[in-house]
């Protein structure tokens, strides 16, 4: 009885040992991975005199919450956040509307050259932002749109990514539904609004998350087009703040910590859509 049991028991011990090692190693690596954030928080709470004290410690002799107040008062971050929210919200709405219409045409309508045109759309993903910003700046300058919201929003609202993503979702809405509605005399716009879009809300939610983040974090273009501080978006404000107080590390880190809040918030609220969006774009490439 005992002899045949022993190898099996040994195998079980080996599996438990391997699983435990795996978890311990993962937890260690994740902690290491998060160190920059931990270090950022620690520094942001240190008193001025202790920021560059050796040997390094994670926290100072006392927790200096005041640093956050100082950071907030030395730079008009509130205004940059409001600007960022306005730009990201309006830009996202515009992107959803234009991508939704285009995605419907690419998934539910039939016309000559449809798939070739869609490939051309996808090819525009190759165009670097840097290859566009010089003429865009000249255009906005000519329109007297420098330092305006529309200049920050319009250039990035029409992108192939949005059309691609919504098309992937629309494709999974069975054709029979729109077919039946067509038979009953419904127009394409009401089919999109009443049948396809409601069945693809996950697609719109996913695109909302990714577009919002894209606008919110965009740095190059707002930096070019916003020269007046009251038009700065959050990343631009942070960049200017760094230029002014670059060596006051505890205030710098407090500013950086400010940007982690929306990241956590967005992830907590929309984890499902982020994962879904990455999945569908990854598998859609097959």
């Amino acid at each position: 009885m005992r002899a045949p049991d022993r190898p099996r028991q040994r195998a079980r011990v080996a599996i438990v040992a391997r699983t435990t090692t795996s978890y311990v190693l993962l937890i260690f690596l994740c902690a290491l991975f998060l160190m920059p954030f931990i270090w950022m928080l620690g520094t942001s709470l240190k008193p001025d005199s202790e920021v560059t004290r050796v040997p390094l410690t994670l926290l100072g002799s006392r927790i200096e919450w005041k640093n956050y107040e100082r950071m907030w008062n030395t730079f008009p971050f509130g205004r940059t956040i409001i600007n960022g929210l306005i730009v990201a919200t309006l830009g996202t709405l515009l992107c959803l509307a234009s991508s939704g219409l285009a995605a419907y045409a690419f998934s539910k309508l039939h016309f000559r050259g449809r798939d070739r045109l869609f490939l051309l759309y996808l090819a525009t993903l190759m165009i670097p932002q840097q290859a566009l910003v010089i003429p865009l700046f000249l255009l906005m300058n000519a329109l007297k749109w420098v330092n305006t919201y529309q200049a920050m929003i319009l250039p990035w609202a029409f992108n192939a990514f949005g059309t691609f993503m919504l098309r992937q979702f629309f494709m999974s809405v069975p054709g029979e539904f729109s077919e039946a509605a067509l038979m009953e005399g419904a127009g394409h716009f009401s089919i999109l609004a009443r049948i396809v879009a409601p069945l693809a809300t996950a697609g719109f939610a996913t695109l909302t998350v990714f577009t919002f983040i894209m606008y919110w974090n965009n740095f190059l273009w707002p930096m070019i087009i916003a020269s007046r501080p009251e038009m700065f978006t959050f990343p631009v404000g942070l960049g200017v703040f760094q230029g002014q107080f670059g060596t006051v590390w505890n205030l710098m880190m407090a500013g950086a910590a400010l940007s982690v809040v929306p990241a956590i918030l967005i992830y907590a609220l929309s984890q499902r859509y982020i994962v879904g969006g990455l999945t569908i774009s990854g598998l859609g490439g097959r």
Partner: protein
Amino acid sequence: MSIINDLRSNGIRATSRRRGDAGIAFLFLLPNLSGFLVFLFLPILATLGLSLFNWPIIHPPKFIGLANFRQMFTADPAFGHVVVNTLVFVLAYVSVNVVIALAFAAWLTSIGPGSTLFRSLLYLPVLVTPVAVAMVWQWIYAPRFGLMNWALSLVGINGPNWLGSTDWAMPALVLMCVWQLFAQNMFIFVAGIQAVPATYYEAATIDGAGAARRFFHITLPMLSPVLFFGITMTLITSFQTFDQVFVLTLGGPGDATSIMGLYVYSNAFRFFRMGYGASVAVVLFALVMFVTLLQFWGQRKWVYYEST
């Protein structure tokens, strides 16, 4: 894109072809197409046109033909460094990113509970404003009070002045970018691995294949289309890297980390040489296109598409 979807849309093809959707399709595409026209096609043409002009912003533009490109390749000593830096950055960043993302994807799909939590933690930096990330890493890389050199000193290594050294600034930039963004690929690869039918693994296990063999003979070939997608997208975006390098090093020290995405900006908006900036942008675009086409050409050799 997949066959199932094509079959689905075939269902309404018969009726709608008779109706003719071209008119309505044009209306649906109009907002997006006009946006593309104004904010994408015209600007890219304008960039091409501008590259043929000498335009120091305070003077009127002067047509100079290909002189900008001639200057770039023969008379601008910085440009050669910038191209080499860009290629080094892209190669190092993309390969390290993909290898780490793949390793973590394979690892996290093999463990039981908790994998979602680990994935979420690793994804957090992706969402954080790159400007903020670069500020934090600037502090980490500080030579005397930085976390990095402190950690190295624990194992007896006397760390370099990361961002002040022409040898170490580029690796420092790559490390930071990989840290911030690899989880994006990790998520895509996890989805790809989870889409591999479990029966393949069961059959292989019965045949006595170990974990390594299963990875190299099942996971990797089945994942290759997703891998191709991830590599292509990462390549395209890495050529455009700007925010991180702008804040972390501004191309320095010297031009050790000056890459094309930054060089376009510096020429056009710091030195106000609009024409020259545009011509660098043209070379950048050509390079992205060339590398992407190379990818598509090369995929026939290693990407495995299921024939069903």
